[in-house]
Symmetry: C2
Subunit: 658 residues, 2 copies
C-alpha cells in the first residue's frame, strides 16, 4: 500500500548511523504517528533503551512475558479457537469469553514491536505461525471472529453491547499497524486492512448505525489511516465517535455511562464509567481531533483528562476506584483498599497521555505517563515475568494466597499476581506496552529534541527538516536523579546550527539543577531547555532530586485522611508486612523523623500496635483507643511496583500518621 | 395439620383480656418459634405497638408500602407470570429475573402479618386473590415455579447456582407459616406445605445432592417444622446446611465464598461473601441449632455473628462493604461512600440477631436489632412509603437525581429512594419486617418478662406456666429516653407471686436510671431487672440518656480516620447539604463545641471551606492545603433514616474533624 508517512521517513531511519536493528528497516517503528501536533514522536527505530529499569523490563518481556502469554493463550484455547473455525467445530468447542480473539491480537502486537525492536527471528517465525492459523478464518468480506457468525453461533453484530467484535478488530488493526511499521507490509497487515475495510463497509454511512460496547476500534482506525494514508478509516473512526453517547447501545444495569453511551465524548467534563473503555475512547478521540484539526474536541479530551488526573486518579497513576463495573468513582473517591486500578487502565492512560503530550507539549501528560508506567504498568508483572496483577490495590489488608500456576485466576479476586486470567486483557497489554517503551522517551519539533522519560538510551532524532542528531543518555534513574545527555552525532551539514534540547523536569522535582559545560542552573518543573550549536561530545546534565519525600493527600480524599505516603523520584513506595514483621493494618508512621536513605533503602519510623478485640468498633473516644504500642523502629519501604514479589504479604501505600 | 405449638398456646391468646385483633385468633402470630432457648418470643397476638416511631412506620406500611408493592409486582409482571403459566404462554412472555416469584411471596408474607395484626378484610381479599392465581401453577408433585420446568423453559433444578428455585420456596414457606400463624390453616398454607414436601422429596436423602445458590430455604423449613410439628422439614434443613460449604455448587468468578459454599457454616469464623446469603444461612443454622440442641453449631453461629458485628458492620448496623458481589469486605474495611449495606442484609441481620437473642438472652443481639431497625430498615422507605433504598451509603458525595416514579431503577446506582427495582427484594422485605415488628419488643421466660425494644405498646405475656401478665409501655423513644412500664393485668390466681421485669439498657446508654416506686437506681448496660410481686398499677421507669453524643471510630477503620459521627440514643445522625447549604464533602466539624440540642434539633459547629482546584491532589503538605474557610456555624444534623426525604442532597455520617 501507499504510505506517505513511510515514504517520508524511510530514508531517515535506514541511513542514519545510530539506527538499531529493525530487522527489515521497513519503518521507524512508531506506535503513534499523528498528522499534526506540537511534538513529533520518535519510534522504536530511533530510540533504543540500553540499560536500567526499562531495559530490564524489556529484557524480561523478551525472555519471559511474551512467551508466557503465547503459552497461555494457547492453553486457554484462544488460539485453538481459530483452528476450530477451520475445522468446522467452533460452535461446540469454542473456549474463552467473547473477546478472547483480542488477546491473541494484543499478543501479536507485542510480538510485532518486539520483533521490530530486536530482530528476533524465532519470534518472527512464531508470529507467522499465528498468522497462518488466523488467516483462514477471515471470511471473503473481511469479517473475522471466532465467536459470531458461523453455523450454530449467534449472527454477526447481534450483540453490540457485549459482543466485542469491533473491539477485537481494534486490537487486530493495532497489531497490523505494528507489524507494518516494523517488518513492513505482509499478509498479516493486509489481513488487518481487509478487516478494517469490512468495518467501514458494515458500519459506514448507510450501514449499521451503532457502535461497539467497548471502544478500541476508534484509536486503531485513526492509526491505520495514518499508516495507509487512506482517510476512510479515520472517517469511520469519526462516525463511531460521533455516534457514541446517544444511547444507541441501550441501557444496562450499570447504566449507559458504563460504556460511555450516555453523553458524547466531546461533551464529557470528566471520565466516568468503565475506566478502560473511557480511556481508549478518549485516546481515539484525541487522535481524531489532532488529525482533523478539531480543536474543540482536542480541548474537550484534554480537559477531561486533566480533570480525571486531578480528581479521580490514585497516587500511583492508577485509575478506576470501583470494582463494580471496573469503573471510575466520583471526585476524590479513591479508596486504597478497594482500588481497582486495572493494569489495562494504566496502559490506556499512558496511551492517552502520550497522545496529549505530542499534541500539546505539556509536561503534565509526560508526568502522568511516567507515574503510571513506574507504578501501574511496571507493578503488574512479577519479577520473573510469569504472573501479573490485573488490579492494583493500594492497601492489601489480608495476605493473599499464591495462585495455582496451572490455573487461570478470577480477575479481581486474586490478591497476588496470577499466571493468567479467565479475562486476561492485562498481561498482553503490558507486553505490548513494554515492547514499545522506546517510543515514550523522546520527541522532536522543528526547534529540537525533547526528552520526556529518562532511561539510558541511544536516540536518533530526525528534526524534520532533514537534520538529524544523535544523543546518548546515561542515567541510573529512577535509583538516581542524574541524567547525562551526550551529543554523539550531528550531521556534518548542520555544524554550527542552533537547536534546542529540552529535558522534562517532573512536577515533584523541587530544586532540580541543569548543568551545561559544568555551569549549574536551578530549573523549575516543566521543560528545562538548552539552545546552542551543539557539537559532538557536548554534555548536558539534569540533576533531579531523587530523595525520599513525604506525600500528603488533599483534604478531599477522605479515604486517606490522616495518612501519609512516601515517594522517591517517580516511584511510589509502600510498607509491606514482609519488612515490618507484622500486619501493616496496625502500623503508623512518625513523620517527625524524616525518611532515611541508607544503602539504597528508604526507612521510616514505624510504630506497630497490638489490636485489642472490641465488640463494637465505634464509641466514645476512650472506648475506641484499644491499641497498645508493641514496637517502634526504622522499617524499610519498598517500591510499590515490587510489592508481593517475596510472597504473600499485607501492604499499604498510605500509612496512618502516628 | 396437627400443631403442638398451636395446641399449647391457643388458649392463652384467645382467653387473654388484652389480645388484640388477630381476626381469626388462630394463633399467637409468632414469626419465630424456637423449640428451646433462653427466652421465649411473643407474637403479634401478644404485643401491639400503640404509638410512636414504630407505630407510625406500621401505619405507613398499612396505608402505603404494602399496596405500593402490590401495585409494582403486578406492573413488573411478577404476578402475571403465574397467569401466563396457566395460559400456557409463560415461556415466551415471562418477565423479571429468575427469583421474581419470591417477591410475590415476600409481599404475601407482609400481607399475612398485616392481616393478622389489623384484621384488614380488604387486604385479606387481595391476599386470597393472589392465592387463587398462584395455586393453579403448583404441579401435582408440589413443584411451583414460573421460571423453570414448563415447555420452552429450562428444566427444573438445572441451574442451582443461579436458578433460585429453593430460595423462592423459602419465601413461599415463610409466607405460608405467617398465614398459618395468623389466619390459620387454609389453602395457601397447604400449598406451601405441599411445596415443602416436594423439596423434601426432591432434595432429601437419595435425591438431588445439592443446595440452592441463595440460602433461605433453611430458615423457612425449620420454621415450618415448628409450625407443623413435623420433623422432616427440619431434617431437610439440616441436610441443606450440612451439604453446603463443600463446593457442590461449583466455582464462579466471585468464588464459591459468594454463596457460602467454600466452607461449612459451622467452620466459619466470620461472615464472608454475599451478605444477604450469609445472613439468611446463619439465621437458618441458628434455628436448626436451637431446635436440635446442637450447641456447637449455635456457638459457631454466635461467634461468627459477634465477629461480624465487631469488624464488618457499619455504624448504622449495615452489613456489606462491597458493591461487587453485594458482599462483606475484610475486617475493618468499611468505606462510607461505597457502603453497600443492602436493606435486605439489614433485615437478615435483624432476623439473625433476634434468633440469637432468644437463644442466649444476650443484650448485644438486641442492641444489634435496635441499631439495624432504626438505621437500616427504617432508612429504606421514603416518608410517604412509595420509594425505597436498596443500598444505604454513609456518604453521598454527589446529589442524586430523582428516579422516575413510573420506572424501576437499577438496584445500586440510584442515589435516591426509587419506587421499585428490576431486582426488588428490599421493598417487600421491609414490608414483612415492619408488619411483624411487634414480635421484637418483648419475650418471656419462666422468671418473667423482658423488654428488648422500646415503643409504646400493650403486651400480653404468657409466662409459660399458665401465668399471664399484661403490661402497658408508654414512651416517646427514640425522641426521649423515658420508658414507663405499667402493670395492667396480673391473673388473679397469681397475686402475690414474684416475677421479674427485665429492661434492656443499650450499650451506648451511660448513666441510665431505673425508677421503681419513685426510687432511682443507676443501671449498667445489659438488662436492668426488677423482681417483685407486681400489682396492677405498679410502674417501672427506665430513663435512658438520649442526648446527642460524639462517636469515634476504632483506629483500624481506615475509611473514617480523623472523622467523627453523632448519635442520639439509638439513632445515627448525619449532616445533609440541605441543612448545610453547601456540599458536605468540604465540611468539617469542631469537636471542641459539644453537640447542642435545641427545640428538638441537634446542632454541631461546622466549618465549610472553599475547595481550590488542584492539578494533582497529592504532594508536599503545603501543596495539599488548598481549602479556604468560607463559613462557620451551628448546623442541624438529621436522623440518618430520614435523609434525602427533602430532595437530592449530599450527606455524610462521618464528618472530618476540623
Amino acid at each position: 500500500m501507499s504510505s506517505p508517512e513511510r515514504a517520508r521517513t524511510l530514508g531517515a531511519t535506514t541511513e542514519a548511523p545510530l539506527t538499531h536493528l529493525l530487522h527489515t528497516g521497513a519503518d521507524r517503528g512508531l506506535p503513534v504517528a499523528p498528522a499534526s501536533g506540537r511534538l513529533r514522536p520518535l519510534g522504536l527505530g530511533e530510540v533504543q533503551i540500553t540499560g536500567g529499569f526499562w531495559a530490564d523490563l524489556q529484557k524480561l518481556n523478551s525472555s519471559a512475558m511474551i512467551e508466557h502469554c503465547e503459552k497461555w493463550v494457547e492453553r486457554m484455547g484462544w488460539t485453538t479457537n481459530f483452528d476450530s473455525v477451520v475445522a468446522g467445530t467452533i460452535a461446540e468447542s469454542r473456549r474463552g469469553r467473547e473477546f478472547s480473539d483480542s488477546d491473541v491480537y494484543k499478543l501479536m502486537e507485542a510480538m510485532a514491536w518486539e520483533i521490530g525492536r530486536t530482530g528476533d527471528h524465532a519470534m518472527d517465525a512464531r508470529f507467522e505461525a499465528l498468522v497462518a492459523r488466523i488467516a483462514p478464518v477471515q471470511e471473503a468480506d473481511g469479517y473475522l471472529s471466532t465467536k459470531f457468525g458461523r453455523p450454530g453461533q449467534q449472527p454477526r453484530y447481534s450483540d453490540l453491547q457485549w459482543g466485542h467484535e469491533l473491539y477485537c478488530y481494534g486490537h487486530l488493526i493495532q497489531a497490523g499497524v505494528a507489524r507494518g511499521r516494523t517488518t513492513g507490509e505482509d499478509e498479516f497487515v493486509r489481513l488487518a486492512v481487509r478487516a478494517a475495510d469490512h468495518v467501514c463497509e458494515a458500519f459506514g454511512t448507510g450501514g449499521i448505525d451503532n457502535v461497539c460496547g467497548h471502544p478500541e476500534i476508534e484509536v486503531a482506525l485513526v492509526e491505520l489511516s495514518r499508516y495507509t494514508g487512506d482517510r476512510k478509516y479515520r472517517d469511520q473512526a469519526q462516525l463511531f465517535i460521533d455516534r457514541r453517547g446517544h444511547g444507541r447501545l441501550g441501557d444496562i444495569e450499570f447504566g449507559a455511562q458504563y460504556f460511555q453511551d450516555d453523553a458524547p465524548v466531546r461533551d464529557t467534563a470528566i471520565m466516568t464509567g468503565h475506566s478502560v473503555r473511557a480511556l481508549y475512547l478518549a485516546a481515539g478521540a484525541a487522535d481524531l481531533a489532532v488529525d482533523t484539526g478539531d480543536g474543540e474536541l482536542l480541548a474537550a479530551i484534554t480537559s477531561q483528562t486533566l480533570a480525571t488526573l486531578a480528581r479521580r486518579t490514585y497516587l500511583t497513576g492508577g485509575m478506576g476506584a470501583h470494582h463494580e463495573g471496573e469503573s471510575f468513582g466520583v471526585d476524590y473517591e479513591l479508596p486504597s483498599d478497594r482500588a481497582y486500578s486495572e493494569t489495562c487502565a494504566g496502559v490506556a492512560s499512558v496511551m492517552l497521555n502520550q497522545r496529549l503530550l505530542l499534541a500539546s507539549g505539556e509536561a503534565a501528560h509526560a508526568d502522568a505517563v511516567e507515574r503510571t508506567l513506574f507504578n501501574v504498568v511496571a507493578t503488574s508483572p512479577s519479577q520473573d515475568g510469569t504472573a501479573f496483577y490485573y488490579t492494583n490495590t493500594l492497601h492489601q489488608r489480608v495476605p493473599g494466597t499464591i495462585p495455582d500456576e496451572d490455573e487461570p485466576s478470577a480477575r479481581a479476586s486474586s490478591s497476588l499476581r496470577a499466571p493468567f486470567f479467565e479475562v486476561s486483557c492485562c498481561p498482553t497489554n503490558v507486553a505490548r506496552t513494554v515492547a514499545s517503551l522506546g517510543s515514550y522517551l523522546a520527541s522532536v519539533d522543528d526547534a529540537g529534541v525533547q526528552l520526556h522519560q529518562f532511561a539510558s538510551a541511544q536516540i536518533l532524532a530526525p528534526l524534520g527538516d532533514g537534520r538529524t542528531v544523535g544523543l546518548s543518555v546515561e542515567t541510573r534513574y529512577p535509583d538516581d536523579g542524574l541524567i547525562r545527555v551526550t551529543v554523539i552525532d550531528v550531521p556534518s551539514e548542520d555544524q554550527g546550527a542552533e537547536w534546542t534540547l529540552s529535558l522534562r523536569v517532573p512536577a515533584w522535582a523541587e530544586r532540580a539543577v541543569l548543568r551545561v559545560d559544568g555551569e549549574a542552573t536551578s530549573v523549575a518543573s516543566g521543560y528545562a531547555q538548552v539552545t546552542r550549536a551543539f557539537a559532538v561530545g557536548d554534555v548536558v546534565e539534569l540533576e533531579l532530586p531523587v530523595v525520599a519525600r513525604w506525600t500528603w493527600p488533599d483534604a478531599r480524599v477522605d479515604a486517606v485522611r490522616g495518612q501519609v505516603a512516601v515517594e522517591r523520584g517517580p516511584l511510589v513506595l509502600c510498607l509491606e508486612s514482609t519488612d515490618l514483621g507484622a500486619s501493616v493494618n496496625i502500623a503508623s508512621v512518625d513523620t517527625s523523623v524524616p525518611p532515611i536513605e541508607l544503602d539504597g533503602a528508604v526507612l521510616v519510623q514505624v510504630t506497630t500496635t497490638e489490636a485489642a478485640d472490641v465488640a463494637w468498633p465505634f464509641g466514645a473516644a476512650a472506648e475506641t483507643d484499644p491499641l497498645q504500642v508493641t514496637d517502634r523502629g526504622l522499617i524499610s519501604l519498598v517500591p510499590y511496583h515490587s510489592w508481593a514479589n517475596r510472597g504473600p504479604s499485607t501492604m499499604r501505600v498510605w500509612m496512618p500518621v502516628a
